[in-house]
Each structure stands twice: as structure tokens, then as C-alpha cells.
């Protein structure tokens, strides 16, 4: 693939724009997880008794917290590379302006995906920090003491690449911006609910294997195990899934984008 350092320049462009208005960008990503932690973790979680994960009893809020990190990793990249990239491509003609320079279209797509992954990293790291503060001040159940929690940010970046590349496929395909309702409705919302976020996928019973089709299931599995300091044979599979899915989605996204934009 024809990718060079131009991808970094594209990434820098988006980062510059984001950090110009970082205050308005950061606030929602701080408050939203806080709301979920309080409502679902403390409120709803009080009703949950006898939850077990990886063969051990676990408080609901401790199960939920890594799920929220995973969700923000998914939304960060997917939002950025659907709505964000589409606006830049279609309305602002930013891609057209950039490909008139030595930067290739492949560079642009890769730069956008890298930026989407950075949004995943930024958003989910904010969630992680909110959880840590809350664990320290309010709810000892969500203190993550295992050193493997340090692996969570790099994992969110990796998962961010995957979700951004998947998003870019839809950006290459949709006729207009309203059509993004479909991938959100058909893909993102089911993952949000069933991807090992709010309850263990073992609750799905016979449908449990189906959950392993979803990218978020693997993401939440890795993030939860690293947050809680657990290890499972599934970790490696989840990691391999994310790598393979990222590679395949990136390849397809670049091909479809070239088809859409090359005239």
C-alpha cells in the first residue's frame, strides 16, 4: 500500500483541530462515564447479587467499570471515522485538498484511522482516570491494583484502530450522512448491549458463541482481564481477533475509499 509519512500529517491536522477546543471535547467524555458508574454501577448494581466472573464472585460495579472503558474505545473511533471523516470528506472537501499535495489517498485514510484510534485512546483513558478517582474517593470496589491495568490504554488504541477501520468502511459506502443510522443501529447498539459490557456473555446461554463474532466482545474481554489482573486463554484469541479484524477492515476501507473518491 502506498502509505508514507503523509499519514502523520493527516493525523496532526485532526489532532490540532481537536486540541484547539479540548475543553468542550473533554467534558462529555468525563461526565458520561460518571453518570453510568453512578446510575448503573451504584444504583442498579445494588440490585445485583451473586454475580460471578471468571469463576469468582464480583461486585457489579467492578464488572461494569472495564465495560465502560471498552464502550468508550468503541464509540471514540467509530464516531470519529463515520461522522467526523464523512464531514471532512464530503462537506469540507478536506480530503480533496490534501491529495493535491504529496500525500496520497491511502495516507489520508490511514491518518484518519490513526486519529480515530487516538480518539478511542483519549476517551477511554479519561474513563479510566474517572474510574480510578472514583475508586479512590468513593467506591473501593473499582480500585484496579494489578499492574496489567497499564496495558489498558494501548489496548484501547489497538481496538480503536479496529473500530475506526470498520467505521471507515461505512464512510466509503454510505450515500449520505443520515445513512450512518444503519451501522449504529445494526452493529454498534447490539455491541453496546451484548458485547460483554453490562453483563457477562455467559448470560446469553446458547447464544453465547454468537457474542464472539462481535469486535466489542474481544475488546471488553481483554480490557476487563487486564483491569482486574486476570488472565485467560481467551486473551490471546481476543488479541489475535483484534489484529486480524483491524488488518482486514483497514484493507477493505482503503479499497472502498479509493473506489469512492478516485474519478
Amino acid at each position: 500500500m502506498n502509505v508514507g509519512r503523509g499519514a502523520t500529517a493527516v493525523w496532526r491536522r485532526n489532532a490540532d483541530v481537536f486540541f484547539k477546543t479540548w475543553k468542550t471535547n473533554f467534558l462529555p467524555s468525563i461526565f458520561e462515564p460518571l453518570l453510568y458508574l453512578v446510575a448503573m454501577g451504584l444504583g442498579f448494581g445494588g440490585l445485583v447479587a451473586g454475580l460471578t466472573y471468571a469463576g469468582q464472585p464480583i461486585e457489579y460495579i467492578r464488572f461494569l467499570a472495564p465495560g465502560l472503558i471498552s464502550i468508550s474505545a468503541m464509540y471514540g473511533g467509530f464516531f470519529e471515522c463515520t461522522y467526523g471523516s464523512f464531514v471532512r470528506m464530503h462537506y469540507q472537501k478536506t480530503f480533496d485538498a490534501i491529495v493535491a499535495t504529496p500525500v496520497s489517498l491511502e495516507d489520508v485514510i490511514i491518518g484518519e484511522i490513526m486519529w480515530g484510534a487516538s480518539k478511542s485512546l483519549i476517551n477511554s483513558t479519561i474513563v479510566l482516570v474517572v474510574i480510578a478517582l472514583m475508586g479512590w474517593l468513593l467506591s473501593p470496589a473499582i480500585q484496579f491494583t494489578s499492574l496489567t491495568v497499564l496495558l489498558v490504554p494501548p489496548i484501547t488504541f489497538l481496538a480503536g484502530l479496529m473500530f475506526s477501520a470498520l467505521a471507515m468502511i461505512f464512510t466509503a459506502l454510505v450515500p449520505n450522512i443520515d445513512s450512518f443510522n444503519y451501522p449504529f443501529f445494526l452493529l454498534i447498539t447490539p455491541m453496546f448491549l451484548f458485547g460483554g459490557t453490562f453483563f457477562p456473555i455467559s448470560q446469553l446461554g446458547a447464544a453465547e458463541p454468537l457474542a464472539y463474532v462481535l469486535p466489542l466482545t474481544h475488546t471488553s474481554l481483554l480490557i476487563r482481564n487486564m483491569s482486574l489482573g486476570l488472565s485467560s486463554p481467551l486473551d490471546l484469541m481476543a488479541f489475535a481477533y483484534i489484529i486480524a479484524m483491524t488488518a482486514a477492515a483497514t484493507y477493505l476501507a482503503v479499497r472502498l475509499m479509493k473506489k469512492r473518491l478516485t474519478r
Binding site: R12, R13, K93, T94, D96, A100, T101, S104, T262, R263
Partner: protein
């Protein structure tokens, strides 16, 4: 010196349309070369192929001695492009539009800042440095697009419809800058559907229609060859007047209520016509590129 653009038998096909149909041309270093034609003639497609953003279907295309298919990055590094659509970056202000663009060329930050300052001065935009794009007038946006095209100190500057929709002052400023860039030794490739613009600026031009060249050459020579020095215009000629004019002029064309009489002796014809048909309004004027264009493409309205 070898030409900076060489095209031989160049073709661009879309699924159901041949946008560029076997054209050949050379663009020499340091000249202003124009592509002229109605909308949909294929001008922008040729430009986009030279820019290496639209793949060549067949034929040979070399830019600055390099094959456009094989070396797009190297070619694009030495081009400056001012596109027809405004694609300035609305997320940045004026000066950031230049500095962020410089980064795509791999230009170091301090050099980009210096170059951006020079260009803001050159295009008279210094006072607008910190203004966001949406607050600029059409003319200012266009000037900024031209400034942006110069950020990498290009050898070839491509201006796609540079003055469409601008008021006369803004047009003249752009024309003046284009001439100045030519004096600096740069090659300028221009598309336009304004005949006066082409006549004013271009050393050589081609007139395109439906993907082909109808004619090429220096504007003055084209006018002399196709039209002659002057044109006689007659408004609301009756049948008798028209019959008379058709018997005298070398070429006579009708467009709505107007007759155009092309001849090297339109002064003589006009004098005689005034005497014979004193009630019909007629006048003579200098022939322009517009007459060439309309003679070649006809006066019918095209889509």
C-alpha cells in the same frame, strides 16, 4: 528546455463517457497555458490528470519529465493547485490554513511560518491572518486558495477557474498576481470559461469541446485566423438586410435577434450597410476570443 508537460494521445474514460478523447499537447516552461471550453468539455479532467489525482485511462502523460502514473508524489511535490471548489479548511483560520497545508509537503515548521507570512502579504491578506474561513468574502477565499497553492514554491501552478464568481477588483488582483508569478519563471496552467481572462493572460491556449481540441495557439493569432480583426454586429436585421449582409460578409452568424458579420473589411461593409439600411442598428468592434469560441462551438446553448 524540454516542455514541463507532455501529453500524447491522452484518454480519460468513465463508464459511459469519454471525458478526454485522444489529445496531445506540450506545455513549455514559463508560459501561461490555458484550457478553454464550455462546462463539461473536459478541461478539469485534463487538469486532474496532470495533478495525478485522476488516473490516466490510456496514452502518455509526463509532468516535469516524470511519468504521471509512476511518480505522483514527486510530481505533486512540485505542483501548486488552486482548485475550482473552495476546499479551504474551515476548522482553521487563514494563517493556519497555510501552515497546516505546508505540513503535507513535509515542510519544517519555521520555514512554513515564514512562507505563510510572505504569501499573506503577496495576496494582501495580512489583516485577515487570524480570521476563520467562514468569515472571508468570496474574493478573499480565492486569494487564500492561490496563496495556499504557492506554499511549496511550485514549478507549475494549476489554476482551475481562478476567478469564477469574483467581482472585478478581485479578478484584477488575481490576474496581476498570475502575471507576476509568470515573471518569476513559473509555468501556469489555467482553465477558464471567461474569454477575456484567457485573452488577457494566456500565451497559448486550447479550446476544448467534448474531450477534444477544437483549436490551439496564441490568442491573437487564433482571433486573426478565425475571425479577422473586427466584427460587425447588427441588431434586429430584417430579411432584406440579412440577405444583403450574407452576400457581403465572409461569414455571417445569427444569434437570437443579432447578426454577426465576420470580414476583414467590416468597416467598409458597415459604411455601405448604413447607407442602404439606415434604420437598422449596426456597430463594429474589435474581434475577441469570444468570437473565436462562438464561431467554433456555435451559438447554441449547451448543457
Amino acid at each position: 528546455m524540454p516542455p514541463v508537460v507532455v501529453a500524447r494521445d491522452l484518454v480519460k474514460k468513465y463508464e459511459d463517457l469519454t471525458a478526454v478523447d485522444h489529445i496531445s499537447f506540450d506545455i513549455e516552461r514559463g508560459e501561461i497555458f490555458g484550457f478553454l471550453g464550455p462546462n463539461g468539455a473536459g478541461k478539469s479532467t485534463v487538469i486532474r490528470m496532470i495533478q495525478c489525482v485522476s488516473p490516466v485511462t490510456s496514452g502518455r502523460l509526463e509532468v516535469l519529465g516524470m511519468d504521471a502514473r509512476a511518480h505522483p508524489r514527486e510530481i505533486k511535490a512540485r505542483l501548486g493547485v488552486a482548485p475550482q471548489d473552495n476546499n479551504l479548511d474551515p476548522d482553521f483560520n487563514v494563517v493556519q490554513n497555510l501552515t497546516s497545508y505546508a505540513r503535507y509537503f513535509g515542510m519544517p515548521k519555521d520555514q512554513a511560518a515564514r512562507r505563510a507570512d510572505e504569501l499573506l502579504k503577496f495576496m494582501q491578506l495580512e489583516e485577515k491572518r487570524k480570521v476563520m474561513i467562514e468569515k472571508l468574502s468570496g474574493g478573499m477565499k480565492r486569494r487564500l486558495i492561490v496563496a495556499r497553492a504557492l506554499i511549496n514554491d511550485p514549478d507549475i501552478i494549476i489554476l482551475d477557474e481562478p476567478t469564477t464568481g469574483l467581482d472585478p477588483q478581485a479578478r484584477h488582483l488575481i490576474w496581476e498576481r498570475v502575471r507576476q508569478l509568470k515573471r518569476e519563471g513559473r509555468t501556469i496552467i489555467l482553465t477558464t470559461h471567461y474569454m477575456d481572462e484567457a485573452e488577457q493572460l494566456c500565451d497559448r491556449l486550447v479550446i476544448m469541446e467534448r474531450g477534444r481540441f477544437l483549436m490551439e495557439g496564441a490568442p491573437r493569432r487564433m482571433i486573426a485566423e478565425v475571425v479577422g480583426d473586427c466584427v460587425m454586429e447588427v441588431i434586429e436585421a430584417d430579411d432584406a438586410a440579412e440577405r444583403y449582409l450574407r452576400s457581403r460578409g465572409q461569414q455571417v452568424e445569427r444569434s437570437a435577434d443579432r447578426l454577426y458579420v465576420y470580414s476583414n473589411d467590416c468597416r467598409g461593409i458597415n459604411q455601405e450597410f448604413r447607407r442602404l439600411h439606415p434604420d437598422v442598428y449596426s456597430s463594429i468592434r474589435i474581434a475577441t476570443l469570444e468570437d473565436v469560441f462562438l464561431r467554433l462551438t456555435g451559438r447554441r446553448l449547451r448543457e
